[in-house]
């Protein structure tokens, strides 16, 4: 696979839950370096598409390729980071520390005590410092605010230095100022650390500031292209007219 090939190729993907069609013939690429916003109304298939890419669901039709390999063939899952929807809807009393949450992302092969313990500790600290949470190593995750928890989950997702990061509605329940800081952090990960980001969001206001590309889903792909073109498109105007949620951000 060469550098110019898409990281993810989505070809004619369809999916139904029972008789309810959720995705219909969706095709678009996710290229290296993209900060892609995957937007659409509730029930438009955004989360379903992410789950299909990550191998959590099988499409009823179509194909996904990750770095040139089908989902079934691909086994380098540590190159992909994932922050699921409602990641912060955790049991606040679950006894797990920030360090332990990030360590989960290090991968399943590290289950034995290792002579590389010092290296592991450094890797965890580095991941947390990239999201500004290095001083909370031994805090129980339930004691953090929603925004802080989200940062920890991102640290978990990036601890293995992935080249691609999926975030599914990561700012649900987080106040708008914290959202602004959060998107600035994603921007840094994308532009300075070259992590390709796919962000599922209802918030079409974010396209005005950070993202490079937009894919608009409503079971079918209604738009895929740059954010500048999206803002001039009929799809965007239609979304505004239908009153889709816009959140103001700092400029």
């Amino acid at each position: 696979m060469n550098e110019s090939s898409p990281l993810i190729e989505i070809k004619n993907v369809s999916f139904s839950y029972g008789h309810t069609k959720v995705l219909n013939n969706v095709t678009f690429p996710i290229n290296r370096g993209d900060f892609l916003s995957l937007i659409g109304p509730n029930g438009s298939g955004k989360t379903t598409l992410i789950k299909i890419i990550l191998g959590l669901l099988n499409p009823s039709k179509g194909e996904i390729k990750i770095m040139g390999k089908t989902v079934a063939e691909f086994n380098d899952w540590q190159k992909l980071g994932y922050v699921p929807q409602k990641a912060t809807h955790i049991d606040p009393f679950f006894p797990v520390s920030v360090r332990e949450v990030v360590k989960m992302g290090l991968g399943v092969q590290r289950s034995l005590p290792s002579f590389k313990k010092r290296n592991e500790a450094q890797i965890i600290w580095n991941a947390l410092s990239r999201v500004g949470m290095e001083n909370h190593l031994n805090w129980r995750i339930g004691k953090l605010s929603g925004g802080q928890q989200q940062r920890v989950f991102i640290a978990r997702a990036i601890v293995n230095q992935p080249c691609l990061l999926f975030l599914d509605e990561p700012t649900t329940g987080v106040d708008s100022e914290t959202q602004g800081h959060f998107y600035d952090m994603l921007d840094t990960l994308n532009k300075k650390e070259s992590i390709t980001i796919v962000l599922v969001t209802h918030d079409i206001g974010i396209v005005n500031r950070h993202v490079s590309r937009v894919a608009c889903l409503n079971q079918s792909l209604e738009y895929h292209g740059t954010h500048e073109e999206f803002c001039q498109s009929e799809v965007f105007k239609k979304m505004l007219a239908e009153g889709h949620h816009i959140v103001s951000h700092r400029h």
Partner: protein
């Protein structure tokens, strides 16, 4: 204290009890956090059927109980997955059917006898050297398997979806955890009996979770409380002539109450 430790039967009870306590505590933390706390209770009832069948046929009751418990544990997991039932529903089905089969078999065998009584209420003080060796081997196997898969079990308990994405074989590990629970239930039956084995799995873990701020602490505290409960319980049983099973469970409950109060005052 010397008198307590000089008797062979107490030494055997302590040895076996300590290892079984560790296995119960470690598993208990995972089961509580997965909201599967009642699976021990359910499998104990199923194991009762195995014991009854073993006694009726005069074939190694504990072995039959182990086989039946393991198969039922896998059945519960399959029922949750295929029939879409909640965990407690699947457990309730197996638990009640298992106990019903046990009652039927006991009736066919023309009533309760002393052997069955010792399985119901535990009889750690009559454990022989072979049973000690077997209990320790099985308990060590359980602890070792949990230790080797600790990160994966923790990940899938905390966030199953992300665990799947990162390559954790969640389905297989679910089944493994169920099998380990079945083995631990049968191990614990000798210590505290069918009727109280669930308490030995749940109460020390619940106590440990009161103060733990990390998963490692949860496992550590639970193990400590389980060990204290077994050692003190046997101690009280010896000196006050109380049943060992009841003493152990009541000590663990006192520990839970104490730690609960400490947590409230924080």
């Amino acid at each position: 204290m010397d008198a307590f430790l000089s008797y062979g039967f107490l030494q055997r009870a302590l040895f076996a009890g300590i290892f079984v306590a560790l296995a119960c505590a470690m598993l208990g933390v995972f089961l509580i956090l997965r909201r599967d706390a009642m699976i021990g209770h359910g499998l104990a009832h199923v194991a009762f059927a195995g014991i009854a069948i073993g006694l009726l046929l005069n074939i190694l009751p504990m072995t039959i109980a182990l086989v039946v418990a393991v198969l039922s544990a896998l059945g519960i997991t399959a029922l949750k997955e295929k029939a879409g039932l909640y965990g407690d529903t699947a457990i309730a089905i197996f638990s009640s059917v298992g106990f019903a089969v046990g009652v039927l078999v006991v009736t066919v065998s023309q009533g309760f006898n002393v052997d069955l009584f010792s399985y119901l209420f535990g009889d750690i003080l009559t454990i022989d050297a072979t049973e000690v060796a077997l209990s320790i081997c099985l308990a060590v196997a359980v602890v070792l398997i949990v230790f080797l898969n600790y990160q994966k079990f923790m990940y899938m308990t905390f966030d199953q979806e992300s665990a799947k994405v990162s390559g954790v074989k969640v389905r297989q590990l679910d089944m493994l955890l169920s099998v380990l629970t079945a083995v631990t239930v049968v191990l614990g039956m000798k210590l505290v009996g069918i009727l109280l084995v669930s308490a030995l799995i749940v109460i020390p873990a619940a106590a440990g979770l009161q103060l733990a701020s990390s998963f490692k602490q949860a496992i550590g505290f639970s193990s400590l409380i389980s060990l204290i409960s077994v050692v003190l319980g046997l101690f009280i049983s010896f000196y006050l002539d109380f049943p060992a099973s009841g003493s152990i469970v009541i000590i663990s409950f006192f520990c839970f109450c104490l730690l609960f109060l400490v947590k409230q005052r924080r």
